[in-house]
């Protein structure tokens, strides 16, 4: 049985240890100390005990409960052991400023760390249980409950990282106020992950994660992989902290970006993955064999200065362990690519892959492929040669940039055409190249047709481009940014933000006409009916490789929130309209997401779609952070796939579309994009969103159709009154009677237009009353089947 136990002093007593923490915080960082108004400290234990529930309850009461001084929080196990509510709210009531803004910082001993307190506590529990069981496990930790409205997440991170925990042998996480008030942290699976006992469960989740992210082409034997992960490798019983073996390392896997590192929700897949890697990283010789994943980039592995060994040695040992992995598996197994909102192309990619032996040996010392900006350094007047002064200046700038490790490579260009230079250094561009011709078509056509003057092409790292440009400007050196060595695997010519031409590398480097073929992706003048019908039919989703991801949901954890890439796997044909686009936006919002950006994949794009996507950016203000446009003349049909990248405050609070109970109140909310309903549903405004039992975006076909779709899942019915014909383009939401007053009040305050339509009923009929028309009664299932068959001329309309 997995248990989590929290003990705290009753609110009537002062908490000197918490005061001590506050004093320490204030002494170390006065600014943060002043923001904290109140603090309490709780002791936390995570445990797994093999015993009947009643015995466990009894033992917990005996061991942890202090009837005079303390409160005991166990979730629902012992509700009488705390104050009136049995949750942390009892303690929060003691805060002087109410209602306050609360945060929790929790730390716990890492599994491999020596935890004497846990051993004594476990001994005490086993004493009370009257038996010793080797499978019992216990981990101890602390929870700091802090109140302060001005505190930011950065402050909390500072406290956690620099004061509250010693990251070498303790891990920490935030707990949001919502979570503090609820009891989900006491659930078995939440507890199990800190005890390292549910390895199989963690592994299976990990597998799920990877499965969901695999590219369609990846020929992975998941069964084999699963079997490998299930294997138990010999492992030492000794506490690893106490060992002094030569090869022992303590790898701490960190993500390249702070957002991922500071992720507070430990149950995210990223954290599971991280925990898995960390866990297996210990005793790397013996255990890394079970790690089928490595982080190929050196920066992915934490090699901080407070390691026991020199970072280089840690890395070498890690690589050595990985080579063993590679020897045993001898095949690239899986590749998981996770990336963040900001830029898909930056180094925050988190790659997990197993390297083959040859690949590992071949690449371990080699420069990793990366994206570099291409700058042409040469005279302003292309026809003339550079003078000596200019050459000296370039040399000086080059030396400075070299010092700063800003240059990836330098290609001499004198006497060659641009195409020849690129061809001569194909290996530099083997990952792909984007040539940007914006505003300098003349230069481009000149360089393609004439030999270049004394000049160079610099490959500048993405992060340092601005700095390098500044260095060049300072010295009065003329330069031109003309492209990017990308990772797309293709050669693309981009003009005005659009891909004008795209070719694969092989073709690009093998032809002379390579850069003159500007295919402007004109709308094809014909559509072959057979091809079109294939595309719309069963094979509608067989073009996954055109989609960015196949997975239904890719998590993108962010600080204090869950974020998701909500993929709406709709693949549109030429019937795609702006109405559809809006509906998809509403759909994301109805689920509880805040739409942040969109990613578009297009095949043989129609101009109408391009226009719509432009509207997406200009009217809705949605950032397009990835756009993939391809032209495949062989297919001769049109596709457009859009996925909205949407952050969700809490994935567990995501709303579903189906109406769940009878007697729920059904409302219509005005849902134009500029309406506050959008902000409210996305959780950006207001606080009673949790009161909604469902929310759905109204289908472009109409409100009745949407209602039918929401009702049919649970075979419920509804009685609604439609007073207005203009219910299109909004949301349908349902509420229980209890929540009605609070939510309606909030709508009024925020200014959300709403209309009460009626109630859901148990009988599976939809009764519609409209002005000037007799009431209509429709069987839900009949209506649904008619809609499915595309018959919209019948009952509903």
């Amino acid at each position: 049985m997995f248990l989590r136990v929290e003990t705290a002093l009753k609110s009537d007593f002062p908490d000197p240890e918490a005061e001590l923490w506050l004093k320490r915080i204030a002494k170390t960082n006065l600014a943060i100390g002043e923001k904290i108004r109140w603090v309490r400290r709780l002791e936390v234990c995570w445990m797994e005990l093999e015993a009947p529930r009643d015995k466990i309850v009894n033992s917990l009461q005996t061991v942890f409960k202090d009837p005079v001084l303390g409160w005991l929080f166990t979730g629902d196990l012992l509700p009488s052991a705390a104050g009136p509510t049995g949750t942390l709210q009892d303690l929060m009531q003691a805060a002087p400023m109410r209602p306050g803004v609360f945060y929790g910082i929790e730390k716990r001993k890492r599994l491999q760390a020596h935890d004497e307190k846990a051993q004594v506590t476990l001994d005490a529990i086993q004493t009370v249980l009257g038996r010793y069981h080797p499978g019992d496990k216990l981990v101890t930790g602390e929870l700091l409950l802090i109140e302060g409205p001005k505190l930011t997440e950065k402050d909390l991170e500072w406290i956690s990282r620099y004061l509250f925990t010693d990251e070498k042998f303790e891990s920490w996480s935030y707990i949001s106020e919502d979570e503090l008030r609820r009891n989900s942290r006491f659930q078995a699976e939440q507890v199990a992950k800190y005890l390292g006992v549910s390895q199989a469960r963690v592994q299976s989740k990990w597998l799920q994660f990877r499965k969901s992210n695999q590219t369609p082409e990846a020929g992975i034997s998941w069964d084999h992989l699963n079997a490998e992960l299930q294997k138990v490798y010999p492992r030492s019983n000794e506490q690893t902290m106490m060992r002094e073996e030569e090869w022992m390392v303590f790898p701490k896997i960190e993500f390249a970006s702070m957002d991922l590192n500071r992720n507070t929700q430990n149950e995210t897949e990223f954290q599971l993955l991280k925990a898995q890697l960390e866990m297996n990283g210990h005793h790397c010789i013996s255990q890394l064999q079970s790690v089928l994943s490595v982080l190929p980039k050196r920066t992915r592995l934490w090699v901080g200065t407070d390691q026991v060994y020199h970072p280089e040695r840690v890395w070498t040992e890690f690589v050595h362990g990985l080579s063993r992995v590679a020897e045993t598996t001898n095949t690239p197994v899986v590749q998981v690519k996770c990336f963040e909102d900001e830029l898909e192309s930056d180094h925050s990619f988190f790659w997990v892959s197993t390297l083959g032996v040859s690949e590992l040996q071949g690449h371990s010392k080699k420069e990793e492929p990366g994206m570099v900006e291409l700058l042409w350094i040469g005279p302003k007047d292309w026809g003339t040669s550079s003078n000596t002064i200019a050459v000296e200046k370039i040399k000086e700038a080059k030396g400075r940039c070299d010092q700063a490790h800003a240059l990836s490579f330098i290609l001499p260009c004198a006497g060659k055409k641009l195409s020849e230079v690129l061809q001569d250094h194909q290996d530099r561009f083997k990952q792909g190249i984007d040539i940007v011709v914006d505003g300098h078509v003349d230069w481009y056509s000149h360089m393609l047709s004439h030999a270049m003057p004394l000049s160079q092409i610099w490959g500048v790292t993405l992060e340092q481009r601005a700095w390098v440009e500044q260095q060049l400007k300072m010295r009065g050196i003329h330069y031109l940014h003309f492209g990017v060595a990308s990772l797309t695997g293709n050669v693309r010519v981009i003009c005005d933000g659009k891909v004008q031409f795209e070719s694969n590398l092989e073709r690009f480097f093998s032809t002379d006409r390579l850069l003159h073929e500007f295919d402007l992706l004109d709308e094809p003048s014909y559509l072959q009916e057979p091809m079109k019908s294939t595309a719309e039919g069963e094979l509608k989703f067989s073009v996954e490789k055109l989609l960015i991801k196949r997975s239904p949901l890719v998590f993108r954890p962010r600080q204090n929130s869950w974020a998701g890439l909500m993929v709406l796997p709709e693949l549109f044909d030429s019937s795609f309209s702006l109405e559809n686009l809006e509906w998809m936006l509403r759909k994301c919002t109805a689920m509880g997401g805040q739409v942040r950006s969109a990613q578009v994949s297009m095949l043989n794009g129609l101009k109408a779609w391009t226009k719509m996507i432009r509207i997406l950016c200009s009217e809705f203000g949605i950032h397009l952070n990835q756009m993939e446009i391809r032209s495949e003349p062989r297919i001769q049909s049109h596709w457009c796939a859009i996925q909205f990248v949407s952050t969700v405050v809490d994935i567990r609070m995501m709303r579903s579309e189906d109406i769940k109970n009878a007697q729920e109140r059904v409302y219509w909310l005005d849902g134009s994009f500029d309406q506050p309903a959008f902000r409210w549903l996305a959780g950006l405004e207001g606080r009673y969103q949790a009161g909604l039992s469902s929310a759905m975006a109204i289908d472009p076909r109409g409100i009745k159709e949407s209602l039918v779709a929401a009702l049919v899942k649970r075979k419920l019915g509804a009685e609604i009154t439609l007073r207005d014909q203009s219910y299109r383009g909004g949301f349908l939401v349902t509420l229980s009677e209890n929540e009605r007053f609070a939510v309606e009040e909030e709508w009024k305050v925020i200014g959300i237009r709403y209309d009460y339509l009626g109630k859901s009923t148990l009988s599976p009929y939809l009764v519609i009353r409209e002005e000037d028309r007799p009431p209509q009664t429709i069987s839900i299932e009949d209506a649904k089947s008619m809609l499915d068959h595309g018959d919209s001329s019948g009952v509903l309309l």
Binding site: V63, T127, G130
Partner: protein
């Protein structure tokens, strides 16, 4: 007398002053024995054997089991759940119990004084040893019988005695009525719970106290013995408690 009374000093990880207790009991005339809690569990020393073999039971202070779960709690759980000793019935059958420092907390966790009392962390605790002047109150406690004001060493006052605020009046009244509050700081207001330095059970045979009598067995233990070196061989005031125990044992034999 031919047969010596035996005293049991229960040792536990982190316990302190075991050999001082041993010396104190031996000086007072007992036959002391130090046994760890694990040895006792292994030997399965049950309540009957305890009553038959030992006249005095000492639960030392210190930092038993690292004070995890609260001072003395783990030791109390082991005594209660594994050895199944009932100290109240032990003293009914003629035993005497002394708990010092964390030992007092162990006695509280063993419900020797009722369950309305506890100890909480003292925010003003400083890690120094000091000497405190103590005044015994009443005549109920056999350990303190006939003793006047005395000085005893006190470790950092890491914990403070607390009466359950929800049953304060009843618990306080009970303490006064039964004479349980038997040792207080000299000159302190008796009504405050902070001045409580020792508790005894209603029979007066179980004494728990925060100061350490075992560290003051001879005059040379004090700092100012140099000022009066002629008294170097004189006994310390802490020894008087153990002598009282011996007197009681002799009077009952």
């Amino acid at each position: 007398m031919s047969t010596k009374f035996r005293g049991l000093i229960v040792s536990a990880p982190g316990a302190r002053g075991l050999f001082d207790f041993e010396e104190a009991l031996r000086t007072a005339g007992f036959d002391p024995e130090i046994l760890s809690i694990e040895q006792l569990i292994e030997a399965k020393l049950d309540q009957d054997q305890l009553c038959l073999k030992y006249k005095v039971l000492i639960i030392p202070g210190g930092n038993t089991y690292g004070s995890v779960l609260g001072g003395g709690k783990v030791l109390a759980l082991k005594i209660k759940k594994t050895l199944r000793w009932d100290l109240l019935s032990y003293v009914d059958r003629g035993g005497l119990v002394l708990g010092v420092g964390t030992g007092l907390e162990t006695l509280v966790h063993l419900d020797c004084f009722g369950n309305d009392y506890s100890f909480r962390v003292n925010p003003q605790a400083v890690p120094v040893e000091s000497w405190v002047k103590l005044t015994p109150i009443g005549n109920r406690c056999v350990w303190l019988r006939g003793l006047g004001t005395m000085s005893l060493p006190l470790n950092q006052l890491a914990t403070v005695f607390v009466i359950d605020p929800f049953a304060y009046v009843e618990a306080k009244g009970r303490m006064e009525r039964l004479g349980m509050n038997c040792l207080v700081l000299e000159g302190k207001d008796l009504s405050g719970q902070e001045s409580v330095m020792g508790l005894c059970d209603p029979s007066g045979r179980i004494l728990g106290m925060l100061p350490h009598p075992e560290f003051y067995l001879s005059w040379t233990s004090t700092e100012d013995w140099i000022s009066n070196p002629t008294r170097a061989a004189a006994p310390g005031q802490g020894l008087a408690l153990f002598e009282n125990a011996m007197k009681t044992a002799l009077s009952e034999s």
